[in-house]
């Protein structure tokens, strides 16, 4: 064994559906070309933003709740080993069985084995980010087990053989007419007279899934919270599909990331105020189920929990990035993100899109994994996500941190520095001295010459071409402020305030 006591181990990154396969910029370009997608996303994100603002403004103590939520999660991370052990003890004492999974493959194997032990070949599923992350459905299919998604949006995505594009509303990229068409095409026995009325579409889903719920022997779920002091698990949902899965089958298998713990029952009062308002913009979601191990005669009698690492310990090892693990998957950050609003979730490649995905995915997989190094750049750093985050994850700061990890990881690896590297190096030299900047500014008239009679620059080479793709640059002024100041203040009697019009011709 090569394990040395006391030696810190290297971070072990996660696997599964966490990787982008092309750079964000490239993927975004395809998505931006889809006008229907843009319209659907614009409509949906604006609807949810307004709802969220309304219900958040009702609470006089919203900021205090955010502070408490943030501190609780920080505390969970600091005490994680101890809390996991406490949870395990309580959950086990109540008849639950805990399984530990290092990565996606191990988790998939455990779930498959547990299903096989029941003799069943069909399972119903409650929407779960963790099982999406590990690619459980695809894995089970390979093993001859059919997993039926029961959340409406997940059902839409599954029927359409598509991928989720949002963590709360996975089919947010589809409008009602597209959903109607999917149902007519893919749902056995769908009424040909089905309209695109959302209420009617919901009823079609109800009819489609009713038999499945009543006959299911095994359900697979995720969990929103796990309370360490009691061994209790919680699932927050809307449609009742969660209650069906968590209550009716004999066997319940829950897959949950190790970071989902809360220390005490009291902490739930904070998170159950933060989560619904931040996610669906409701005062409370229609249904929340809580269970503590097995209750004789009520609900599943075989209760399992798979505790998943899959890169979480690696994210935890990043001191500046670890607060990304505070995420409660509410999706408020993506709903307010101007980048997400325009590209949708598929452009991020990973199960976790939007601002949180742009930090969480590379933290879980390591920044050098495939194209995930492009994700931290998928932000203008406008800060709307940080303001919306119910647990105050400073996403912009972590984005900048991960950019620096990316830049540093590539230092010295390239034979020829990139244009960006060379430009940044030159700019560092020029901008770290007033004298040097002043000298360079003496060249401004050359820029004026380049701008020509239109007094604007419309085409730049190299990486700067990105700028001139949709924007001009004005002709520079004849002289910098620095030069002007030096002239004006050379003699102490030149003290008069400059009239703002003095350089009218120069800057026009």
């Amino acid at each position: 064994m090569s394990t040395f006591l006391g030696m810190p181990s290297l971070p072990v990154f996660g696997s599964g559906n966490l990787h982008a396969t092309e750079s964000f910029a490239k993927a975004a370009r395809h998505e931006l070309g889809n006008g229907q997608l843009r319209a659907n996303l614009g409509h949906a994100t604006h609807t949810i933003r307004d709802k969220r603002l309304k219900v958040v403004s009702e609470l006089p103590d919203w900021e205090q709740l955010r502070d408490a939520g943030s501190a609780i999660k920080e505390s969970v991370m600091a005490r994680l080993p101890e809390l996991l052990e406490q949870f395990e003890e309580k959950f086990t004492a109540r008849g639950g069985v805990i399984h530990w999974a290092r990565d996606a493959d191990e988790a998939n194997d455990i779930v498959t084995r547990l299903i096989r032990e029941t003799g069943e070949t069909e399972v119903v599923k409650v929407k779960s980010m963790a099982t999406q992350e590990i690619g459980l459905n695809e894995y089970l299919e390979e093993q001859g087990i059919s997993a039926f998604e029961t959340d409406l949006a997940e059902l839409i995505v599954q029927l359409d053989h598509d991928k989720p594009s949002h963590i709360l509303v996975p089919a947010i990229h589809k409008n009602r007419t597209e959903i109607r068409d999917i149902f007519l095409r893919e749902m056995p026995g769908a009424d040909p007279a089905l309209t695109d009325d959302p209420a009617m579409l919901a009823m079609a889903a109800r009819a489609h899934l009713r038999r499945k719920f009543l006959n299911a022997k095994v359900a697979v779920s995720g969990a929103n919270f796990a309370l360490a002091d009691s061994g209790t698990l919680a699932v927050v949902e809307s449609e009742g599909n969660g209650r069906m899965c968590l209550t009716l089958p004999d066997t319940l298998i829950t897959v949950m990331g190790v970071e989902k713990l809360l220390p005490t029952w009291q902490d739930l009062e904070v998170f159950m105020q933060l989560l619904p308002r931040s996610s669906t913009g409701e005062r409370m979601n229609p249904y929340t189920s809580l269970w503590t191990g097995v209750t004789e005669g009520d609900g599943p009698q075989n209760v399992h929990l798979v505790l998943l690492d899959n890169g979480r310990s690696a994210a935890l090892a990043d001191e500046m990035g670890r607060s990304a693990l505070h995420c409660i998957r509410c999706s408020a950050c993506m709903n307010v993100c101007p980048v997400y609003e325009r590209t949708g979730g598929h452009a991020y490649g990973s199960t976790y899109p939007g601002p949180i995905g742009a930090i969480l995915s590379p933290l879980l997989t390591g920044i050098q994994s495939e194209e995930n190094s492009s994700l931290p750049y998928a932000s203008s750093l406008c800060g709307a996500c940080f303001d919306a985050c119910p647990v105050k994850i400073n996403i912009p700061d972590i984005l900048v941190h991960l950019r620096s990890v990316d830049v540093d990881s590539k230092r010295g690896m390239k034979k020829v520095p990139s244009q960006m590297d060379a430009g940044m190096k030159a700019a560092s030299w020029a901008l770290s001295s007033g004298k040097r900047l002043g000298l360079i500014e003496k060249g401004l008239p050359i820029g004026r010459l380049a701008a020509g009679p239109d007094k604007k620059i419309t085409k730049l080479p190299g990486i700067a071409a990105g700028w001139t793709q949709s924007r001009d640059i004005p002709a520079p002024p004849a002289q910098s402020f620095r030069s002007w100041w030096a002239k004006e203040h050379r003699s102490p009697d030149v003290k008069e305030a400059p009239a703002p019009t003095q350089q009218k011709e120069d800057q026009a």
Binding site: R342, F386, V400, R471, P474, P476, P500
Partner: protein, 267 residues
């Protein structure tokens, strides 16, 4: 009060009139303005692009340039650069292991103000028309830049100042709180998304019927103005310092198809 002007690199090199206007406003209020000559740039472009090592000399230069006891407060006509000075400089120093610089950077940051913050909070300007003689008879819309809004929490300081300019017709910008898409090197690395954000911003500006879009950050205004120019729009951009500095006797020059509003002034 002796006020050190941090012009910021973009204003220094590209928009000197914005800095001149800032000087003019402060001197009109009876304050003395100094320009620490060693200043260059806040280094935000480096930090936000992940080049912390390259940012360090830029940050160190700024801290050195503004560490003097020769002034009371420093001011910059940019929310973004002030946010960088306040929040990023100590972080860069810390992450490069320079604790002495970190402490000095924090000290500089604590006495650096964004222009509207200084005018409203420190210098007590509540009515630009009355206190500064600000006069600007045009229909204007206002874009509150993200970093001023979210990192410095400027709130309505800038729009309150604008509203108090004599003759101004301030048109509400739809979706004002949405980012214009600039984001430094984001505009180049993710040019398509940035351009899509910009297109929505310029459409919102066009919908106001304003002749000009103003704001507190020259970089965002350069981005928005560059987009308007490319689209062939007659609408232009102008920094709010220049609007505040504009007077009856010495009006700010504006280019483009600017209609002078008469009798419609909101003040």
């Amino acid at each position: 009060m002796r006020i050190a002007l941090f012009a910021t690199c973009i204003v220094d090199a590209m928009y000197p009139r914005t800095a001149q206007a800032t000087v003019s406003i402060l001197e009109r209020l009876g304050h003395e303005v100094v320009f620490p000559p060693a200043q260059a740039c806040c280094g935000q472009m480096h930090v936000n692009s992940g080049y912390l090592k390259e940012a360090l000399p830029v940050v160190a230069n700024h801290v050195e340039a503004f560490s003097s006891d020769d002034y009371d407060v420093a001011v910059a006509p940019s929310g973004s650069c002030v946010a960088s000075v306040k929040h990023q400089h100590p972080m860069v120093a810390r992450s490069c292991g320079d604790t002495a610089l970190e402490a000095r950077a924090a000290a500089v940051g604590s006495r650096t103000y964004e222009l509207s913050e200084l005018l409203v909070d420190v210098l007590g300007v509540t009515d630009a028309g009355a206190q500064l003689g600000s006069y600007f008879p045009h229909r204007v819309t206002y874009h509150p830049s993200c970093h001023g809004m979210r990192l410095l929490r400027l709130g309505d300081r800038q729009s309150r100042l604008l509203r108090s300019v004599t003759g101004i017709d301030l048109a509400e910008l739809p979706e004002a709180d949405q980012c214009c898409g600039f984001g430094g090197t984001f505009s180049m690395k993710n040019a398509d998304v940035s351009s899509a954000m910009l297109a929505d911003k310029t459409a919102s500006i066009a919908a106001t019927g304003a002749a000009l879009c103003t704001g507190g950050d020259a970089s965002c205004l350069m981005h928005i103005g560059g987009g308007l120019s490319r689209q062939g729009s007659a609408v232009t951009t102008l920094h709010l310092a220049e609007i505040l500095a504009s007077t009856v006797d010495s009006p700010a020059s504006v280019v483009g198809d600017v209609r002078v509003t008469t009798g419609k002034a909101t003040r």
